[in-house]
């Protein structure tokens, strides 16, 4: 997929660039302790990675530094990319922002460039060649790390969206054969589809006989969602389950009437409590209160 990364850095003719880069890498290895320290200090000074302790910053900085030098030398970015992804995975949950990650990589690039200036300031032509080799490679590295971070972030966001979507349609069992499906918030077509799917699978899995769909938390629905709701009720019946819809707001009731719903198919009760009572009646349960005398004689703990 990412062809260019496999190539080494071309500009002045491969041979020279490669030799220059290895010379450069040797220099960076030699001054590893010093440069790394300077980098870590500048990170702290720039108030980046504040979510992490100094010790952590230093450890990560060491690893990034070594990966960086290696990527410069070999011109292959796979290891760095993998590391960047792994690092992102660890630091994203701690609230590290994209600008911080880009910031530290650019800082390192800066620190290293300065050290190169210092080393080659006597020989301007050589410094030029070194920078010609260094800059594109360093840019690529910065790019790789930033892209790795953003991709990881997006992956996490996608996962969370998925999780939220699943959480948004819980099918709960309240009694043997009795399910409730409380819906809160806006129902969009995708959520409606998922809701139906979860409900039908839930009926199958828990052998539900009666389902209470509670719409108390839904302010309004449009007519296509209303139709979908009616279809869900009918599909549930085909699986042998009775659906009771509760908590219809006036707006939803109006939408249902407008689409001309067949009221014989729709079993509706005012609120969730009434719905559950109706469901219990259908299932043959009778809930009775313990008499006051019994309660007095044996006070319940808790």
């Amino acid at each position: 997929m990412r062809e260019p990364e496999k190539r080494s850095i071309p500009p002045i003719g491969d041979e020279t660039a490669t030799t220059l880069l290895s010379e450069l890498a040797a220099h960076l290895r030699e001054n590893r302790t010093l440069l790394r320290q300077e980098w870590a200090q500048r990170i702290t000074k720039a108030k980046l990675l504040t979510a992490m302790t100094e010790q952590e910053v230093f450890t990560e900085a060491t690893a990034v530094y070594d990966q960086y030098v290696e990527a410069l030398e070999t011109g292959t970015f796979e290891a760095l990319q993998a590391y960047a992804r792994n690092l992102s995975e660890r630091i994203i949950p701690r609230g590290v922002e994209t600008n911080e990650v880009v910031g530290i990589v650019l800082l390192l690039r800066d620190v290293l460039a300065r050290s190169l200036f210092a080393k080659y300031q006597a020989d301007f032509a050589k410094l030029n060649r070194i920078l010609d080799a260094y800059e594109p490679a360093a840019n690529r590295i910065a790019n790789t790390v930033a892209v790795g971070f953003v991709q990881e972030r997006e992956r996490i966001i996608r996962e969370q969206q998925e999780a939220i979507r699943e959480l948004s349609t819980p099918v709960l069992q309240v009694r043997e054969r009795l399910l409730i499906l409380p819906i809160i918030g806006v129902i969009d077509p995708q959520r409606a589809r998922q809701l139906t799917e979860q409900l039908l699978l839930g009926i199958r899995a828990t052998r539900g006989r009666v389902v209470v769909i509670d719409l108390t938390g839904v302010a309004a629905i449009d007519s296509s969602i209303a139709n979908h709701l009616v279809q869900t009720v009918e599909a549930s019946r085909l699986l042998g389950a009775t659906v009771i819809v509760t908590g219809l707001s006036p707006a939803i009731a109006q939408t249902l009437v407008n689409i001309g719903v067949d009221l014989r198919k729709m079993n509706t009760v005012g609120d969730l409590q009434g719905g559950i009572e109706e469901a219990e009646r259908l299932l043959g349960y009778r809930v009775t209160q313990l008499s006051a005398r019994d309660e007095g004689a044996e006070p319940r703990s808790g």
Binding site: T196, E197, L200, L201, I203, R204, R207, G208, R209, Q231, T232, E234, A235, S236, R237, L238, L239, G240, A241
Partner: protein
């Protein structure tokens, strides 16, 4: 493919094992309607668990079957409609309106048992 029809007490159980052609369905309908009176049957269960599609012809045949059996003095219950099949059916407007349905064979038997 012929559908085996089992007699269990006062009930008949037709358990569909694989996809059926239209002819198979009509054969099944006629066989069931025929046996209801011959064996003094009270209830008929058609198990469609194995079907992953129920088209308009199949739905109509099942509905006709249920109505004919009712006229012959027994009740019909369709059991084992898969969730995906159920939703596809309602989207096509095939809701088997007045025919009892149940989750599976066990539920179907229970349903027939309570409505003696």
């Amino acid at each position: 493919m012929a559908v085996p029809i089992l007699k269990q007490g006062e009930n008949l159980i037709a358990s569909i094992q694989s996809a059926l052609t239209d002819t198979d369905l009509v054969t099944l309908r006629d066989a069931l309607v025929d046996k209801v009176a011959a064996l003094r049957i009270r209830g008929v269960i058609v198990d469609v668990t194995a079907l992953d599609v129920l088209d308009s012809f199949a739905s109509r045949t099942l509905r006709d079957l249920a109505h004919m059996i009712r006229l012959r003095g027994a009740r019909t219950v369709i059991v084992g409609i898969q969730p995906e099949v159920a939703f596809a059916m309602v989207q096509l407007g095939l809701t088997l309106e007045d025919i009892p349905t149940a989750l599976d064979l066990e539920e179907g038997l229970k349903f027939l048992g309570t409505r003696r």
